[in-house]
């Protein structure tokens, strides 16, 4: 520091005192102090540790969940000896069964949408996933209507999601964990211009349900 000695002419006002004091603090100290503040602030907010995403809320059977511009209400999980209206065909000789998830769905978007989505995980109804089963479910109307499932805007419909499971994979009273999809809507550009896209699929909610076994009817067991 080669600060000039205070000239007698200079008045000793508060301002000049502060200025003089500030000029006496060496610059490296300031840099060090700034760095320390930054580190302390980082440490206070949890340091460089990965922030775990907010866990998806849990919904229960019969509770309405909204995600991917759909309202989905899981009404029950059944283990069926007969497929009923489900779209899966179990091999009876291998004693396979059908795991069926009954869901009430309302499309809250303004255009008709297929209940099945492309890609995996799917943003649509077939994005409902049962823990431990990798495949996507097959979807059918619960009332046995034919055809691909198109969700008309605002029209409630009951669907059956189904998977074929082995004879001993699941039993009556077992707990299964389901995840329900959520995603972000965008409108495509260029070659996909005007196409509605739901992507960035995440788990929107989890659901734990008890499997109810529906045995084969008498005449069918023969």
């Amino acid at each position: 520091m080669n600060a000039a000695p205070p000239s007698p002419v200079q008045e000793r006002t508060l301002l000049t005192r502060v200025r003089r004091m500030a000029s006496l603090i060496p610059t490296p100290w300031l840099i060090t102090a700034g760095g320390a503040v930054l580190l302390a602030a980082t440490a206070a907010f949890g340091g460089l540790q990965t922030v775990s995403p907010k866990p998806a809320p849990a919904v229960s059977v019969g509770e309405r969940y909204s995600g991917s511009d759909l309202q989905m209400t899981v009404q029950g999980v059944e283990l069926r000896a007969e497929r009923g209206n489900a779209a899966s065909f179990p091999d009876k000789e291998k004693h396979e069964k059908v795991l069926a998830v009954i869901v009430d769905v309302v499309n809250t978007f303004g255009k008709p949408r297929l209940a099945t989505g492309s890609g995996s995980p799917s943003p649509a109804v077939d994005g409902i996933h049962v823990e431990g089963i990798d495949e996507k479910p097959l979807i059918a109307y619960a009332d046995g209507s034919d055809g691909r499932v198109w969700l008309q805007p605002g029209v409630p419909v009951q669907l059956v999601l189904s998977w074929v499971v082995g004879p001993d994979e699941l039993h009556d009273g077992d707990e299964v964990r389901l995840t329900l999809p959520d995603s972000t809507h965008s409108v495509g550009t260029n070659v996909q211009r005007g196409v509605d896209i739901w992507d960035e699929v995440v788990v929107g909610a989890t659901l734990t349900a008890t499997v109810r076994e529906i045995p084969a009817s008498e005449e069918d067991a023969l």
Binding site: D143, Q152, R193
Partner: protein
């Protein structure tokens, strides 16, 4: 003159830009459908399709030719349709009803004329059905019918229908899609 000219030129260019902006069609117009307006009872033509909507009805329950009955809110559109010059790819593949902000697609839950084949010169008649929410039967609806499943760049027949005008019947039996007898 030398001082005025650049200003004049600027004004002309600005005015030109404004005019161009004002007359430009919205984004995506190049691929918009070619719409043929039509009314109930009158034939309309769109590319490879000649179509007449003969009636628009509404019901709480419909029964298809196979006997399947579905309870909901239905708009049933009776249609006579034929292809014009080619049978190739000719189906009644597009049927949408727009009511307010919502667009509905003809149902595939029952057997109907929707997605059935069309033949050049030989009209077929049948009906397509739309499933709507219970509260949607009001206001005006825009009905669009055509051949392509993807309506971009292709022709569609468009009708405006007054939904609050349609009496709601208890039940409608959908006609079997058959050759039109005239």
């Amino acid at each position: 003159m030398k001082k005025v000219l650049p200003w004049l030129l600027t004004l002309v260019l600005l005015a030109g830009a404004w005019v161009q902006n004002a007359v430009a069609l919205p984004d995506g117009s190049s691929e918009a459908s070619f719409l043929t307006p039509a009314t109930v009872g009158h034939a309309a033509t769109a590319r490879n399709l000649t179509l007449t909507v003969t009636d628009v009805r509404a019901a709480r329950s419909i029964t298809d030719p196979t006997g399947r009955t579905l309870e909901s809110t239905w708009v049933v559109v009776d249609v006579d349709a034929e292809a014009i010059d080619s049978q190739y790819g000719a189906t009644l593949g597009f049927a949408e009803l727009t009511v307010g902000e919502r667009t509905f697609r003809a149902t595939e839950r029952v057997q109907s004329f929707f997605r059935q084949r069309l033949v050049p010169g030989v009209p077929r008649s049948g009906a397509v059905a739309f499933e709507l929410p219970a509260d949607a039967l009001k206001g005006t609806g825009t009905l669009r019918l055509g051949i392509p499943s993807d309506a971009r760049y292709d022709g569609l027949v468009e009708l405006t229908i007054d939904l609050s005008d349609i009496p709601v019947e208890d039940a409608i039996t959908l006609p079997t899609t058959h050759w039109t007898h005239t």
